[in-house]
Amino acid sequence: MADIPTAPPPGGPLPADTAPPMVAFEQVSKVYAATGSQAAFTALDDINYSVPRGTITGIIGRSGAGKSTLIRLVNGLEKPTGGRVLVDGTDVAAQSESALRTLRRSVGMIFQHFNLLSSRTVFDNVAMPLEIAGQSPAEIKARVAPLLDLVGLGDKAGRYPAELSGGQKQRVGIARALATSPKLLLSDEATSALDPETTLQILDLLKTINHDLGLTVLLITHEMDVIKAVTSHVAVLDQGRVAESGRTFDVFMSPQHATTRVLLSSMPGSGLPDAIQRRLKPTPAAGDNVLVRLVFFGKTANQPLTARMASTLEADVNIIAGAIDEIGGEPCGTLVVAYPADPAVMERAAQFYQQTGLRAEVLGYGA
């Protein structure tokens, strides 16, 4: 199989690869000590990972994989039991309590359940980090109003959280997290409590913020859709270890780890219709067709390859399923096709894939 061609970098302010990372995990481990009733538990085990400056980077894993612990190490809500977490070069765990409070003002955080104060209006919720930092009412007023405009809630300043929808609450959460002009935004399952449409709106807002403010975003999620929609880089966390990491596009196009494949299989468009899946056989019988999944990306995404394919193969090519998508800002498509499992046809097909750089994967055989 041909190597993955390097795709052009996605849009947005991409930093030079030489820039030091915004967040660096160095041999980080977190072990919860045994208590009377429970055995010791290793939440994170030798994590080495860097979050590139200016990116939206995602950490995905199933529940219990350690992602919540990992993100809480970044702003010191939890302390590692081994290794170091560096935020913009600063070792978080080595800071005194007061230095840590100062550091936290440069790291915003948003939460799955929003965590807004019910007793405060939208305005006062966004003002809270500024109050904590000791700013004057005039300074606070000058800062909060544009933030509410940025998240599209300029007309809701006097409302209480109970009067808002879930998406609006998360917008308040985002405005609040941005109040102290942080350089890093941590997102803890920020869209997991929202419906799909609202999720997309919130993710769009995160993209805008990343792009316009040049803010690095580190998000954790259990949803591949979220990773696909906004991140340029991803790390897959499994049982407290980084199973796989890299550019989101590369990880999606050629997942190396079983956990990644399982997470990807839950994505819409990744599977075959059940009726076809059930009839697939691992070896061909006479007169069978071969089912192949073709993946288009990079330069192959923009060429009329399917049209040329039928003539090159000198056989009927039947399209079974297909989807066009964008991952990490790069277009890609998958197409499941069937053609006769005749040795000559298959030989011509292999040559065709080689010449064009198409990625092809035999799924099975069937009538």
């Binding site: 840590l100 965590n115 104060l117 405060r120 904590i132």
Partner: protein, 223 residues
Amino acid sequence: MAPEMLLSLLTSTLWQTVQMVVVAGVIGTAIGLPIGVFLATSGKGELFPAPLTNRIIGLIVNATRSTPFIILVVAIIPFTRLVAGTSIGTGAAIVPLTVATIPFVARLIEAAIREVDKGLIEAARAMGATPFQIVTKVLLAEARPSITMALTLTIVSLIGYSAMVGAVGGGGLGDLGIRYGYQRFMPEVMLAVVLVLIVLVQAVQSAGDALARRFDKRHRKHG
């Protein structure tokens, strides 16, 4: 009993009750509220971790609360004399009332604060808030409706307790009811006392409920 006399007794004893309840309530809350905040925030892994002190204060609070009030009144007479200069009268009665109020308020405040969503504490920590800022801006602010209800309950309970301090000459409505209504068998006095108490408790409860509702922004309101 002549109506004028009954009325004059009622107003003077009502005033005594109000004095006892207000003074004991204010001092008891001033001391009990910080203790309640401490109890709610000093457990292992909490804002001001001091598990041992937490345990000890918890024990003292429980001991005070499990002592029947009338026994407490008599038991702390030497302390009352030390503080009030005398052990008899309305002023003196305020001392045991206050002593009983402190642990009562402390436990109610503790419960109100423990109800506050832990996610809010985490969010405030992530903003760089100091533990003290978390107490004032998050815990007390978010628990305000529950604290209002707790203090309303405290006042209502104090009105009830104040009837018992007649035992040390504290006076008040309850004392009037016992001495005239019960011991001298004047049912009309008893009835009048009970009616005034009902109105008093009802007024306190309604005011407290209204205030708590105004503070409570946790639910969407209509109209």
